[in-house]
Symmetry: C2
Subunit: 153 residues, 2 copies
DNA sequence: GGTGAAACGTAGGCCGT
DNA sequence: ACGGCCTACGTTTCACC
């Protein structure tokens, strides 16, 4: 990854279009940013090579896939050793319900985004996964009722 | 969107591959899931039409783009009227630093994900945007130090 | 950065199961 | 109703200007 990449207005435009529609054809993209297809493709290839574009993903509609329950969960550990952090993070990696795990500043160490089919499925995760980890000290759940903005969806 | 869609193993496989690489060609995808290209394309088209696949996006490397500071911010409003909620949500829609805005249960109403260039840029957002909104009552910031898991990145 | 042409992939009609 | 085959059409990709 390159921390310093010379970016101009056109690169910004390209990234904006690709972030919005990752499957736009190079022809359409070139037209939108006002470049010839080959010049546009060269820029996109450079952005991919330098890691500015990390990849492309299909955005799945979770509710259509049976995910009806989303919560943010703060987790505090009882010991702050590297070993206990690594053990906790490994457990989160393995848990399919955990979509995000962030190490944050503040009263507790971790913030999770958890997606489950419903409240019952969430309770299983809460009890059988989080509840059984010896490092876990405090758990607080914040149920998502709606997301008026979610650019990462 | 269709809440009940008959999904089999192959559809799951297709979604998994597209979630991983949204730009895989239909030819490669067909081979991976063990279908002919036309049959595969028909399934993908159906998944798009029913809304299971909501779209495609390029994943941008934020650090390469100058985003060096990420925080989760809880926001409490002083009035719980529909009008004040809508005003707040409109302000969040306009703010480019706000990447996510979730309406949550608990002591406060909103959880934001905020991405800024650095702490200075974040302070501007905190003071000039959040601080000037009349509806905002309580603000608490949790700085992200790392994300051991982030499947939505 | 633009042009052109060959290689490649897509998309849709058609048929078999 | 769903998968496979074939083909016209569009797109990508590359050497060259």
């Amino acid at each position: 990854m390159q921390l310093f990449t010379a970016m101009d207005k056109i690169d910004d435009h390209i990234l904006h279009e690709l972030a919005h529609d990752g499957r736009i054809s190079n022809l359409d993209l070139a037209e939108r940013v006002g470049l010839s297809p080959s010049a546009c493709l060269r820029r996109v290839a450079a952005l991919e090579r330098t890691g500015v574009i990390a990849g492309y993903r299909a955005v799945l509609n979770r509710t259509a896939l049976g995910v009806g329950f989303t919560a943010y969960v703060t987790v505090g550990l009882n010991t702050h050793t590297k070993a206990s952090q690594e053990a906790f993070e490994r457990a989160m990696s393995r848990a399919p319900e955990v979509v995000e795990c962030h190490n944050i500043t503040g009263a507790v160490e971790y913030l999770l985004r958890v997606e489950a089919a419903d409240l019952t499925a969430y309770k299983s995760f809460h009890t059988d996964v989080l509840g059984t980890l010896p490092q876990v000290h405090a758990i607080t759940s914040y149920v998502v009722m709606g997301s008026p903005k979610d650019e990462r969806a």
